[in-house]
Amino acid sequence: MTCEDINRLLVSFLAHDLSPKQEKQFRKHLAGCASCARETAEFETVWRRLDAVPEETVPLPTKETIYDRIYRLDSKFTKTVAIDLWYSLKKTIKPLAPLFMGLLTTIIFAFSLSFRTDLKLISPLGLTIAGGLWTGLFTLVYYLFSMGGNMRELSWRFLAQATLIAVGIFLLITAFSPLPHAVRFCSRFQFTQPFMERLSLGGTYFLFGTLYSLIPMTVGAYFCASRWGNKPILRGSIAGAMFMLLLTPGIFLQCAPFALGIVLGWFGGALVGSVVGGVLGFWARIHFAKNY
């Protein structure tokens, strides 16, 4: 053990926080080093002098007040069977929260779609598969969101966060203006009609599919990118792909009455919009946000 070690371990020695082996080596060094022995003795004196401040007992009125306050708190909150049940229920359902949220989001989405989609055109098996797939995907994304994450590393938590924000925005947009309605409107609107006539129906759906996923994903990625520092292409692509996966059952449920060309155009547009939106959002935040 060197003098430097003694310096480093001195406070642990005083507090009896050394292992028996370390203490033996410590004492051995002191026996052969006058300056360390002197310094240790001086610190021991200081340490001993600190005993001059005696320990005081808690005044009885203070103790009684604390007991009284806690007793009242206990009788209010934990002495009932209902509260005990609630806490045990909370503990049990916590791991199931992503599943619950996944199911809830699917129900909300399906409910909002049921008003404008003729779901009768889809077979019961198709509906079941779409619903199950949707629940599973949402559960997975909520699970990723519930995981911890380092802000500086590629974190699934924040990727999932970006995706969920994008889904929320997408839900709002489609609630107010469903994609097929927007296509119909633009086909009849005098300013957009000439342009729309030049595009095939598949191309139109591709264009709208791109816009409908690009906008939410760009916004979602932009808001979550403040937590990250680099790799916008990788992060944008992963988040965009997750977003696209979440949209897939929704598009499937809406496109039952359409021809294959339209369906492919819609899916293709959604895929391009999701990935480009993700990359664009992360990239924009990294390069333009002043507080980054």
């Binding site: 371990l9 406070v11 642990s12 200081v46 600190l50 001059a52 401040v53 005081e56 206990d74």
Partner: protein
Amino acid sequence: MRKMKQKTDEELMLMWTAGNFKAFDALFNRYGQKVYNLFLRSLRQKETSEDLLQECFMRLAESRNRYHPQNSFTSWLFTIAMNLLRDQYRKKQRFQATFSPEDPEPKLRNFADSRKEPLNQMETAELKIAVEKALQTLPADQREIIVLSKYQGLSYAEIGDILALSPEAAKQKAYRGLKTLRQKLAHLSEEQ
């Protein structure tokens, strides 16, 4: 069934969470005085220390459902206490603002008591004042570590855990604090 005294802190905490008030009583008997003296030694204000002690155990009560027995109870409790202490420092901006060196009350009380006492007791009272005063001159972080190590008997690993420091950093701060105390108390005679 083992008696309360034989149970570990963590077991008692779980029992208290389940609604056993006797478990709280056992915990308070173990730690109430320690926490109270932590506040008292850090602030030198009796009333504030009593208030903080109340607040500390209320916060412990309110947060007990979040306690996991894998975590050390001591760290959990002293983290709450240290947070309260820091809030108190912040309220007063600087610790010096809460401690008025001109305040003659502790000195007068001690000397008034010591007038009837033998010489060595008078010296003890003097030493107590000198040590208390020297402790107050330390930066808050150094004082906290010395108080937790010396008076609460916590290891540097536990202290590091409570104050979000590495044990090595905690040791360094304690070393610096003790070095300052050595200078401040150098005027005292060897016997003291």
